[in-house]
């Protein structure tokens, strides 16, 4: 416990100093709240409109989790499929990369046009964002199994299916998790973009509304929640990784454990 505190206090101190500096500047230079609110004003506003914020947060969270779950599942499935069918991979992979080159800010309005204003276009957008890093990471993980281990498995007569299930799949898990973490980091911000493009609830919608009304404290309050959501999702994935990869030598995790 003492060790942990020792590791975190410098960044905590810098954070606190910055917040104080910000608040001080707002007071000293007498900056209007609609232009730049101080941390105190943001906290005050957050508390004041908490029920509304919570409602929008719930909408964003639902969208994020649903999109993330569907997108990563699709990514894992496609990664496996491409690994097992190299011909399919060669023919379809360029298309996959292409799909990632279209900016989501362009893709969003198109999806809206095609799929209407409901939940569907937003989920499709999120699936597209989460899918790619996961499928690439899965494919890379499956393809990089140690050749001496593969050779051993073949020598003792293991079939392709056994090699896939017992060697390649568990070997791919660490790589898969780096994809899952990237997708987690992107998914919340992508949900905000999706809501921005067209929605009647959610933090993206709320920010747009508040910005139009020059209610800067509300924008900052929503941003604060977005940051917390992102960190939470990323943290949850990192925790799952830690629990699942207990077999890895401690040294690769970095840092001492109590």
């Amino acid at each position: 416990m003492g060790n942990k505190w020792l590791a975190y206090w410098p960044s905590a101190a810098v954070m606190t100093a910055l917040l104080l500096l910000w608040q001080g500047a707002v007071i000293v230079f007498d900056i209007e709240e609609w232009f730049l609110p101080g941390p105190a004003a943001i906290v005050r506003e957050t508390a004041a409109i908490w029920p509304r914020l919570l409602e929008h947060t719930g909408a964003t969270l639902r969208l994020t989790l649903l999109g993330y779950a569907l997108g990563t599942t699709a990514g894992i499935a496609v990664g496996m499929l491409f690994h097992l069918a190299p011909g399919l991979r060669r023919s379809t992979y360029p298309l996959l990369v292409l799909s990632q080159n279209v900016p989501i800010i362009v893709l969003g309005p198109l999806l809206l046009m095609w799929l209407g204003f409901g939940m569907l276009p937003k989920i499709v957008l999120l699936v597209l964002v989460c899918f790619f890093p996961v499928s690439v990471a899965m494919l890379a993980g499956l393809g990089s199994a140690d050749s001496s281990l593969t050779n051993y498995m073949r020598m003792i007569g293991a079939g392709n299916w056994t090699i896939f299930r017992r060697l390649e799949l568990p070997h791919a898990v660490p790589s898969l998790f780096s994809g899952l973490k990237i997708a987690a980091a992107y998914s919340v911000t992508s949900a905000i973009v999706a809501e921005w493009i067209g929605a009647s609830k959610g933090l993206g919608y709320f920010i747009q509304l508040s910005a139009r009304g020059f209610q800067a404290p509300r924008v900052f309050a929503a941003v604060l929640i977005i940051v917390l959501l992102s960190m939470l999702l990323f943290g949850a994935v990192a925790l799952a990784e830690r629990r699942l990869l207990r077999w890895r030598p401690r040294s690769t995790e970095g840092g001492k454990r109590p």
């Binding site: 001496s148 051993y152 020598m155 003792i156 007569g157 017992r166 568990p170």
Partner: protein, 266 residues
């Protein structure tokens, strides 16, 4: 009695950018029931290629493999195998690794579990049964790797330079350990090695092959009684045989007329 393994006139050519490279130029050898045979040859003599053919991973350009009298050329899953690197899966526990190998060989899961724990106890590694392989030393990993091969219900054990990556002292200890364990079980073994001492200490018979394109240079029965131990190293006959084999391999190294294929035909 039929031999556990017969490799008959095995030839292997690889196409290397248009030029055919001959690795095995007709190698024949046999392993009888309960016999420990070593395949001794210089590095790069195609020993591992021969193993891949016996394991069924490579289809030879010529010749055939028989096991128990049956032609099994190109068939996989007929041998127990111990590679040079311990090749333990890092995400499985020590016992889990042994269980996996046994399950691949067709042993039921419960029986595999029972055997793994029973034998880990017997080789005094029971404390590590539920630990991951990375906590084991190199020598301990190779013990687990050997045990895994020993327990596989297959007629032939193929050991591919199993101690090549170990330091000299660990290597000597491992040879002693393997000798003891093997002399209790007497499985048919084919060992690849480039260590003359190792071959002499462990085997009943040694097949010496040349550098690529490999042919059998010589085949000799090792005359020492079992059980054997490290006192063998000081035996004058041990040193005489060592010199003899060394001479064969050195002679092969020199350019000149091809060596006699003494004992190569059977």
């Amino acid at each position: 009695m039929t031999d556990v393994l017969e490799a008959i006139d095995i030839r292997q050519r690889f196409d290397n950018g248009g030029a055919a490279v001959e690795v095995l130029a007709g190698v024949s050898l046999r392993v009888g029931a309960g016999e420990f045979v070593s395949l001794l040859g210089p590095s790069g003599s195609g020993k591992s290629t021969l193993f891949q053919i016996i394991g069924g991973l490579l289809q030879p350009s010529g010749g055939e493999i028989r096991m128990g009298g049956e032609v099994v050329t190109g068939d996989r899953g007929r041998i127990a195998y111990m590679p040079q690197q311990a090749s333990l899966l890092p995400w499985l526990t020590v016992a889990g690794n042994i269980e996996l190998a046994l399950e691949v060989a067709g042993t039921a899961r419960a029986e595999a579990r029972r055997l793994a724990h029973e034998w880990l106890e017997r080789i005094e590694l029971a404390a590590y049964a539920d630990r991951y392989p990375h906590v084991l030393s190199g020598g301990m990993q190779q013990r687990v790797s050997f045990l895994r091969a020993l327990l596989m219900p297959r007629p032939l054990m193929c050991l591919d330079e199993p101690f090549g990556a170990l330091d000299a002292l660990t290597r000597m200890q491992m040879q002693q350990w393997l000798l003891q364990l093997w002399e209790q079980s007497r499985r048919a073994v084919l060992l690849i090695t480039h260590s003359i001492e190792e071959a002499l200490l462990l085997s009943d018979r040694i097949v010496v092959i040349s550098a690529a394109p490999a042919v059998v240079l010589h085949e000799l029965e090792v005359p020492f009684a079992r059980p054997r131990d490290e006192t063998l190293w000081t035996d004058p006959q041990f040193n005489r045989l060592k010199q003899q084999i060394y001479g064969l391999l050195r002679q092969d190294d020199e350019p000149g007329p091809p060596p006699l294929r003494a004992g190569g035909e059977r």
